[in-house]
Chain length 231, copies 2
């Protein structure tokens, strides 16, 4: 009976993390759309959603603490709970990046648009897809999909690196678009950080799922107490 | 007897986290000195230290998992263990920023030095002091010092914001230093991220220490099971 209650709590933890992921995905999507369309009201929506994201983060942390305090989870459940705690923190920081982008778009509204030879929407699409894929990998306990997210991070890093050099060249030839180019550079780096957080999430999924597999390989469990290794 | 063993394990966790902090502080200090002196061999030292930092991070996570699996920690011990897990992750990311800066300094070596009207060493000093203060606050369980770290983050953010605008103006008037200015901009943002991680660490210290205080205020414990609130 206690075991069923415990399982129910773990399900609740998972569901709340998915709510958190939904809030954060919406924030980053809105921030990206705000950039594409120079839409100030979308920026405001992103800024207004931040307190709810922060509150949800704290609630999930508290629930995880409650579960850890309630009874002694097995090694696999422990790994799940720790993965949730870490994914939760990374999601909150993706939310921060959405806020950073929204704030930057509001600054951009004060200056004329410039045609820049870099593809921010493409970097944005890969970065937000990474977050979505990492969360889907979490839902599906999918180690392979998690590894795909890690590979996509190399692409975001490369695009961001290229943007840095392209914008540098552009500024030299057209100093009058410096401000627009620097803002695009910062947004590109914000998106790179979103990709970094998605990578962290994917790594946490691997940490959790490979831990679950490890249960079947006693030799890998040497650092865990015996009664847990046999659970 | 079990309780003494448990306390010993917590001490070990704390000590290993301080080793981790020492490695990371050294990495960021070396990266900053490498920038100040354009010292490629210091950059190599930073890059070579990264695997040890990553390994230490994993060992601390595993030790924390072992402790959680071993027996049922009280609410206060749980908060301590979770704070360690999160601080550990932030320290590892400070190490990543040291690597980013070192890599950027190596790129800078290929281009002539330029006299830039921003004070990177000042931003660097505040950011690295924040890391050191946050770790000291952890050692001393010092909530006030943690709050001081949060205030310093505003200063780093402001200096970074100013650097962004100053370098933008500089590039417009002197397009031939664009590359140097963009590199300085990226390093300035790397340092801002170091400040962000120090802020996260300070917040984790507050989370842990205020949790310890909460033990004496039963009304604040409603979300924890009774047997823990009374521990």
């Amino acid at each position: 009976m206690i075991r069923i209650h415990f399982q129910h709590k773990l399900d609740e933890l998972r569901e709340r993390l998915l709510v958190m992921a939904g809030l954060v995905e919406q924030a980053i999507d809105r921030a990206i759309e705000a950039y594409d369309n120079r839409d100030a009201s979308l920026c405001d929506l992103v800024l207004m959603a931040e307190p709810a994201i922060d509150r949800t983060e704290r609630e999930i942390d508290q629930l995880a603490l409650d579960i850890l305090a309630m009874e002694q989870p097995t090694a696999v459940d422990l790994r799940f709970i720790l993965a949730v705690i870490r994914i939760n923190a990374d999601l909150e920081r993706v939310g921060d990046q959405a806020v950073n982008i929204a704030a930057r778009v509001k600054e951009l509204q004060a200056i004329p648009e410039a045609d820049l030879p870099i593809d921010i929407p493409k970097i944005a699409e890969i970065a937000s897809t990474m977050v979505r894929m990492a969360i889907k990998a979490f839902i599906d306990r999918d180690e392979k999909a998690s590894n795909d997210v890690l590979l996509m991070d190399d692409e975001v890093d490369k695009l961001n690196h290229d943007a840095f050099h392209t914008l540098g060249e552009l500024i030299k030839s057209k100093p009058d678009v410096t401000q627009q180019a620097l803002n695009a550079l910062v947004i590109s780096r914000n998106l790179e950080r979103v990709g970094d957080h998605a990578t962290n999430i994917a790594e946490d999924v691997i940490f959790w799922v490979s831990g679950a597999d490890v249960r079947h390989h006693a030799s890998a469990m040497t650092s865990l107490p015996d009664q847990i290794a046999e659970a």
